[in-house]
Symmetry: C2
Subunit: 227 residues, 2 copies
C-alpha cells in the first residue's frame, strides 16, 4: 500500500534537502549560491570573501603564487579561487576558510556580513566594492605568511550587475539605487540596491548572507527588480 506523505511533512523534506545543500556549501566556503528567476534575472548570495592584490597574495601564499580556479562565477572571467585564508578580528576571534575571488585586483578587500562583523568584533561599514577609504582593516593569515590590512574590511553594498542593454530595458542608469523584491514565506524588499552598468556584466543581483537569510532567498518563489 502506498500511503501518501502528509503535505507538511513532504514540504519539510524538500526544505531539508535544499537547506542541507545550502548549509554544506556555506560550510565549504562556497562564495556564491545561485537562484535564477525568469530567463534573465539571477540573484546570488555572496558569502564572505576576499579580493586581493598580487603582492598581498604572494605574502600569504609565497613568492610567485597565483590564484587558481576552484569554480567559475556567473560574471564572465570571475572565479572563486582554490586559495582560502583565515581572518582575525580584535581579541583574536577568527573566521576560517574565507575564499579569495580571482583574478587578482588593484586592491585588497575583505567582504563580510554584519553577522560576521559581530562575531569578529569589527565595526564594518556598508560600502560599494572598491570604496575602502577610511574603512577598518584586519589580520589575514595564509599558509606562507600573514598581512595586516590597514583598511578594506567592508560589508558590500547590495548591488545589481547589468549590461547597458539590460539598463535600457529597465530604464536604469549606472549608480542609480533600485529595489529588489523577494517573494517567500519571509518576503522582503531591499530598498537600496546599487545599479552597476558595464558592457561585460551579466544581469545579476548580489546580496550578502544576512540579506539572503532574512528573506529566505533559498526558498523564494520569485524576485523582482524595480525603480
Amino acid at each position: 500500500m502506498n500511503i501518501p506523505m502528509p503535505r507538511e511533512q513532504l514540504e519539510r523534506v524538500v526544505r531539508q534537502v535544499v537547506r542541507q545543500r545550502f548549509a554544506e556549501r556555506l560550510m565549504a566556503g562556497e562564495p556564491q549560491l545561485s537562484a535564477a528567476y525568469g530567463p534573465n534575472l539571477v540573484v546570488n548570495i555572496s558569502a564572505r570573501h576576499m579580493h586581493i592584490r598580487q603582492d598581498d597574495l604572494e605574502r600569504l601564499f609565497g613568492a610567485g603564487a597565483e590564484l587558481t580556479v576552484y569554480r567559475w562565477l556567473y560574471q564572465p572571467g570571475e572565479f572563486a579561487a582554490e586559495q582560502t585564508v583565515t581572518v582575525f578580528g580584535p581579541r583574536r576571534r577568527a573566521i576560517e576558510n574565507v575564499r579569495i575571488l580571482g583574478p587578482a585586483r588593484q586592491f585588497t578587500q575583505l567582504e563580510i556580513s554584519f553577522t560576521d562583523a559581530v562575531a569578529l568584533g569589527i565595526d564594518v561599514p556598508c560600502r560599494p566594492s572598491g570604496k575602502i577609504e577610511g574603512t577598518p582593516g584586519c589580520l589575514v593569515v595564509g599558509p606562507k605568511g600573514s598581512i595586516q590590512m590597514e583598511q578594506g574590511v567592508i560589508r558590500a553594498e547590495r548591488h545589481v550587475h547589468m549590461s547597458p542593454s539590460d539598463a535600457d530595458g529597465y530604464g536604469f542608469e549606472d549608480g542609480q539605487y533600485v529595489k529588489v523584491g523577494v517573494e517567500s514565506d519571509c518576503a522582503a524588499t531591499f530598498e537600496r540596491v546599487l545599479c552597476r552598468v558595464d558592457p561585460k556584466f551579466l544581469l545579476e543581483v548580489h546580496v550578502d548572507t544576512d540579506e539572503g537569510n532574512a528573506c529566505n532567498l533559498v526558498g523564494a518563489t520569485s524576485v523582482e527588480l524595480s525603480a
Copy 2:
C-alpha cells in the same frame, strides 16, 4: 587648538560604539535589543531564545527549579531569565548560552535565526510562536540534565504586538500581515509581518537577528508600519 574630527571618522567612532555594545550584548546572550522610533513604535531584535514548560525546566535545572529575572522585557510580565542552555543540532554542532524567556509556558519552543539553523544543521521552518506542529526538535542541555525536544525549533515569523487601540489607529486586525519599512544605509521593507492584537500588548515589532542585520536596524534612522 581644537582640530575637528573628519565627519567620516566621527561617524565611524559612533558606529563603533553602538556596534560594540550590540556585539557585547549579543555575546552575553541578551535576548532583545531595542530601537525606539517616535513616541510609540518600538522595533526589537529578538536574538535566539527559548520558551519552556515547567516540567522541561525542572529536567534541565533540577526539581523545583524556577525561572528568575535577568532583565524585564518590553512586553509587560515578560522577562529574560537568568537561566541559559546549550542546544545541539545533528552532527553535534552546538550553540551555547541560549537564554530562556519567562514566565514558563504551555509549550517548549526554541527560536533561532536562519544563520543559527545553518550553523546547527537544522532545517528550520518559519512559524508564528506556538504553531510548532510538525517542526523539528533538537537536544537541549542544562546544568542538571538534558531534554530531547521532539518538535518546537522554529524561526519565529516576524510580528508586531499591539493593543486593540493601536490596531484601530493603524486600521489593522489581529492575524493580518502588514509591512515594516526600515530606513538606513541598508534600507529594507519586511513584507510579511504578522499583526498580533491583545489588550495586554504594547506596540512592538519583533524581527530576528538576520532581519535586524540585513537592514542595519541598529543604525536605522526611522521605521514605519503600514498596510
